[in-house]
Symmetry: C2
Subunit: 237 residues, 2 copies
Amino acid sequence: MRDTDLAEIRALALFRDIGDAAFAALTRGAYHQTFPPQVNLISEGEAADFLHVLTDGSVELFAGWSGRETTMSVLRPVSTFILAACINDAPYLMSARTLVQSRIMMIPGSDLRAAFAADPVFAQAIVRELAGCYRSVVRHAKDLKLRASRERLANYILRQSQQSGDAGRFDLPLEKRLLASYLGMTPENLSRALKALRDDGVAVDGTLVTITDPVALGRVARATPLIDGPEPDEAIR
Amino acid sequence: MRDTDLAEIRALALFRDIGDAAFAALTRGAYHQTFPPQVNLISEGEAADFLHVLTDGSVELFAGWSGRETTMSVLRPVSTFILAACINDAPYLMSARTLVQSRIMMIPGSDLRAAFAADPVFAQAIVRELAGCYRSVVRHAKDLKLRASRERLANYILRQSQQSGDAGRFDLPLEKRLLASYLGMTPENLSRALKALRDDGVAVDGTLVTITDPVALGRVARATPLIDGPEPDEAIR
DNA sequence: GTCGCCGCATGATCTAGGTCAAATTCTCAA
DNA sequence: TTGAGAATTTGACCTAGATCATGCGGCGAC
């Protein structure tokens, strides 16, 4: 593995404070690979063999049932995924695929569990990461159960705008059909909802979203930190 | 705290394998209290001060937004809750209230974090517990996003039946309005959905549910371990 | 008992959002 | 540049499930 890659990974909250020995043991057996777009990295139901760390690109976590499929999360660098399955040595509950060309480090689950047992500082970092993932899904579930689709969209736009520097203007970081799936609606309905939000201070041109009236949009969204953050999480950003 | 209580708690997966010193440190500052029904234990947004362990009774985790409210989970003994908020020292994302008279042990967050740092075995147990909670919410989210309400109900009935010894007959462990909220539907619609399932092998009389035709019900439910378990989790059981 | 409340069921109606189909725009490779 | 296929939009329509209103039945307070 390249030293520059290692340095970048070392800077992750998950690895920042652990001992050099533990870090070396973790990365010794690890792969760091580049994948083309649309590559299936893992499929739900399979055994969890590797902790994945996305260092560059974009990865979709999704799940399917009975011919249907839904986007659970879209990850940006630098994030870890499927930590929970890996820790518990359980089958994945979600599948993962690259959306664009992506670099991903894969750490063998056995190494992960060994390092976890050997280094208390690493254990602490793992727990923080896991707790963050947990809270992120809880937010997603609350969003789905408590809000109508237009409200979810309005809040998504506000969150996204804030994460892009709060300039009131940003590019959607994913295809609209995936955003629709993430928000729990159909692409058709997302299209209509975006048009409907014109009256509430949102202008859309292709992937460029502009918030023309933050107050009006805020009235629709009624954002709350208990659903919309801020908190470091692995949801779409 | 009574010795019998302590023994029971000690037997929890979370505490089973930790050292006596760590366990003593954890329980020294802990309370073990009995609460009447319908008592608010915690409210979302508040700071997380205590890890809660339900030792007897039943507790509802719920969340609200903008005048709406939804049941996220209903806990049975013995379960821990709000571990994630406590570990991260972050605000609760969910509120909790007793449904019936309940006994709950509360361990100060500071003690929890101290024990976590001091005892690697405890740290490992915490991570397992957290990973289980995470996977439980992911299942809930998949259930909500991938299934129609009747399908969710059919699967709930199958899960519940299995957890009650698979006799094909069990008592609903919660009020129907709470079940409806947990399943993401209105009480009216739950009532109709239960009636509709008569054609698919389910008979309901009050809180008593009887599966008269497991094959037919299975055809509707199309259960999968990737949503419906089995896995120790903190969802309704 | 019986009064009043609450959980639940049922019917009538409404609507958010899904489905289907067709037109339009975008992407990208030849 | 051009053409094929995909993404998106738009319109027409439909349905799952919400809402509203009413009635029933159990249960606790008095």
